[in-house]
Symmetry: D2
Subunit: 357 residues, 4 copies
């Protein structure tokens, strides 16, 4: 007999349902009795005891279903120790819910912030298993996170569509790709979409270099240029600012996002008209791609095994093609960023992609 | 022996290549000798004699290719009679190019503006055939234009993706769909995507009604609402302004587009947080859908027949499932808009979709 | 207060759920009280009283869901008057279920066979509304059926994939498209996919003409040829056989389907190696395309209106872009086939497509 | 100054063009002068001196294009040492073409058979770089081959489509997935598509176990079962036969492929009707998925670097997320098969997937 809890926290993404299906199928096929409690809207459901008992029917047909059947919400880690508006201690409340339901384990699906809270709950004595969910691919300790490949596909589709229209009109286009702190999604979608210039948070850009790259293409008779720009792309000057100074600067920016600002800079510097496309939240949505479905099924099945082995306090990671249990204490709080001189960046530069540096 | 010219003008869209392939295949299979001149970048190529002789190889494999192999540009009708910066009379220049090449016919692919210039050239004595291209579906005299269904598919994909993320987070989302003057694309994509509220240029909205519709859903336990908003959506108050007053108001708007303004209005009126997604030019791009490929192949083949019959001065339209030659003089300058009380709007309202009116 | 029944009968297809959602949303928004009974597995559920009461939750999120939430089965019309193995009179049983539930109307989604039984129930005094479902597009009295465009998309995808591989290897490929009696799906997918030869049930083929068309391409330096072949494609000789003779011949055929036989004939006649691909039931599956979702939403909303108007005994059709009530008695038992000399076939031939005739 | 040759050999797949683009872009951006010779139709072009000089224009826009711009053909390794019908020594002919063109390096894209010939040419003193192409993912020494993920996507799409129709009709369906010798594609597509039973060449099946798995689902109230079956799936009895005996048995089989035979066995053993779908060559076709485009761009860029470093005789592999040069002599002739007791199979079994063993 096993009693487990499930919750999905943070920005939603593809394959959350696929991962939960993996966990539950992996247990229900191998455990005599199983009770699964689904907490609604992330940690909120755990804090306020908002949950429902799930049956096998809930997990039927959800392998291909986007979003999360449990709902999600963002609950910042740094506020977890801060009592809520009614004075409720959130951490204590979560522990109470957990113990009240007499859970063997709580399976938490989420990104970096979620992982920090998961680790906190582990420190508080709860049995925790974390599954690495994020379209950003920035979780330390796993080669890949789920949602990432599905998001690449959507962002690449957008660049593909822009390609035909850019080529027809000889225009400069910016496609803004999700990613405030890390550039994995922009890097992969940019290469997959054949972008000419890729701007990442990890590699501050020099607008002159960007304009030069556009002009180099013009001179080579290529009438159009496509830029894949991460939400968190930053200029060399801005990268020198303190975090606070930069935050203020962004707040005062008259443009809704960095891409509009870069478009403005290019137009001023080079005279070229620039169009901006923002696929936005579509990058989190829709049915998970086959890659993510396989990944999640495996992570889920491996989580089920860890629960059967009563081996908790870990994230189930994918490392060199094998699922692996990685202690939460070793990875919580760490971020996996794009190294500016990594092999992949070098390869991209070798085929002529400019990073504006 | 036939000598024809081809040009694609205005904003690009899917299936331009498919349509040109249809014309050229239709002729080359049935005419002893054929010379096809492709003018570059729309009317510009005709004005400045910028063209190339095309061979059957140019038309191989382009059925599925987005964009236009000839390039396109916007050449406003109202400037056609205005000499260019060097004093060149554009209309005369186009006629000269046409006569110099001794063309039997010029096949022009484009939207409403393009059509007006096509009609002008007809009045000037050129043999013209027009093919109705636009993702807006607003060309009078044909049931459907090419590009429309492909654009619906892309806009619907965006709404589908937003659906899963909206449902997971119980959020209000706006998806901004292309269409400044007419709402066909928003209407179709909105219904296909299961949008709850659809705002069209033809049906001015009352922001109170919009907020009411959102609240009605909340009360019914549906935590999220999706709005499909046309670029040209307009409030009841703004609809009362003169064209000039409204233009000025838009120019001063602090938001990059109407959706951001509506999001702001909803937030102010109802307190709900609203997210905006702008698929933008992706709606014009990518491979044409099968529907558009069939449509364009048929229109192209019908254009070929008209050329063989030496029956010029017409648009090739699709009417009740049959291709048909419609005199350009009967349709040029007319716009096909969404009638606010048409059957389709009534049906949409019947299933509970709000148009904010 | 309205009490309605829903059933889906015959081969399943895309957008069945979308259509049912349209009916139920159209009613629930406009009727004070509504009870919806869903019969399981087509007429079987009506015969044996196998049904469930559906709630609005059943219709949430199913706009994009393939298949049918009610299940389906084939119940041949000609057996409807034949008692079942237990001596049960099926027609009487259906009437009893209908009356027992005190239904105002039974909404039946299905193809030609289903329609005949629907008309029979109408003759027996039941209030019937029929919605035209089939990937075959062969229902008389409506311009288009739902499922058709979605199936075109899937079959065209298959031809697109074959195109790249055929071109790489200079091979002759047959893609077998669904359609035993009518060729609409093959015709549309064939044109959309750029097939070189299209074989339809309505246009018997001469294998010599087929081989000639392949050789003509070879001589023109086009190394590959793609044939879109309907399941019911038939040779000129076989078309002369009586129905019974042909049936026997097919039964004895050593090939699993006609495409393998045609491949064999081509190889024998011309020496070319031919590969066969059979997408099969995938053509019925997956999420409905936006075109079908709009179509079904409109048909569903129009059905709701007919029920509110108490105007029964009709099929809801789409005619010239408008939904329309067509008396069942006028259309039941009629088939809409491809006319061999219709405009579309002529256009296809004009661009060089061979129909083997 | 570099002079390189390119050839694509064996069954075509997605991303061949993307890989060649990577090589050529990587060189042309970094080498003073570059001449690229493209050999037509695989080794045939090298043997018979059938090639063309390629320009940068040939590589523009081909990132997303399926198939191969060079054409391909199968030239069995074991026949390479056998003179052709005119007595020509193929190996000598290839060496002559290579030396006549004074190539610095020959880049060969292909699978296992291709690799063996590539290694032979290396032994004969030519500078060779091999890129691992195959939808089968069976090349030893690389974590993944290109074409594999794109093929997974297509096969999974097929299973997805079958899922909705199987569920609607409560039927047993077999989807036959490519792979005669190895089961990677079937394993991944089967898990991604949510197949209930997966039959691989590496895990001989017992038809009784297969039927039991179907019956277990029936008893659990799941009315349908989907089998993903590799082309090379084999029963336990047949696995005991000698290679020759099995070949003879297959040759005499009355079914066009193994799936039809398994369907027949299931029907005989369990009485259930089974439908078969064969996506066939579609699995090799269409546009490469973003995953493969990134993979190929990286492999291509890494090949360019190896050429600049004059480091030949290797395959460019992807190992633990990094591109790597693997000596051809270490890998040629080895096959990477699915280990029946590998982690992934265990995970699949844990969630209830049957492998019929």
């Amino acid at each position: 007999m096993k009693r487990i809890g499930l919750l999905t926290s943070g920005g939603d993404c593809q394959a959350l349902n696929a991962a939960m299906r993996g966990v539950v199928k992996g247990l229900s096929e191998n455990v005599d009795e199983l009770e699964v409690y689904g907490f609604h809207n992330g940690y909120k459901g755990l804090i306020y005891g908002d949950y429902r008992l799930l049956t096998s029917r809930d997990f039927s047909g959800i392998l291909t279903k986007g979003g999360t059947i449990l709902g999600s919400s963002r609950q910042p880690f740094k506020l977890m120790r801060v009592p809520d508006e009614n004075g409720l201690d959130k951490v204590e409340a979560m522990k109470q819910t957990y113990h009240k339901l007499n859970l063997n384990c709580l399976v938490i699906l989420g990104g970096n912030g979620t992982q920090k809270t998961a680790n906190l709950l582990r420190e508080e004595g709860l049995n925790i298993i974390h599954l690495p969910k994020t379209i950003d691919n920035d979780i330390y300790g796993t080669d890949v996170t789920f949602g990432f490949q599905s998001a690449i596909n959507i962002a690449t589709d957008a660049i593909d569509c822009i390609h035909t229209t850019a080529a027809s009109h000889n225009r400069v286009f910016i496609v803004e790709v999700m990613g405030h702190k890390v550039g994995w999604l922009t890097l992969y979608a940019g290469i997959a979409g054949g972008a000419d210039i890729i701007l990442l948070p990890e590699i501050p850009y020099d607008i002159k270099k960007v304009v030069e790259a556009i002009e180099k293409r013009s001179k080579a008779g290529k009438g159009f240029t496509i830029l894949a720009v991460a939400e968190g792309a930053i200029s060399k000057e801005d990268a020198k600012l303190s975090k606070k100074e930069y935050k203020n600067k962004v707040a005062e920016r008259k443009f809704p996002s960095v891409s509009y600002e870069i478009a403005d800079q290019i137009q001023k510097a080079g005279g070229t008209e620039v169009r901006v496309t923002v696929p936005g939240h579509t990058q989190r949505g829709g049915s998970p791609c086959p890659y993510d479905r396989v990944l999640c099924t495996r992570l889920g099945a491996a989580a089920a095994k860890a629960i059967m082995d009563e081996d908790y306090g870990c994230m189930i990671a994918m490392v060199n093609g094998e699922t692996k249990r990685v202690p939460l204490k070793d990875v919580a709080g760490k971020l996996k960023m794009v190294e500016p001189d990594c092999q992949m960046i070098k390869e991209a530069k070798r085929i002529g992609i400019s990073f504006g540096d």
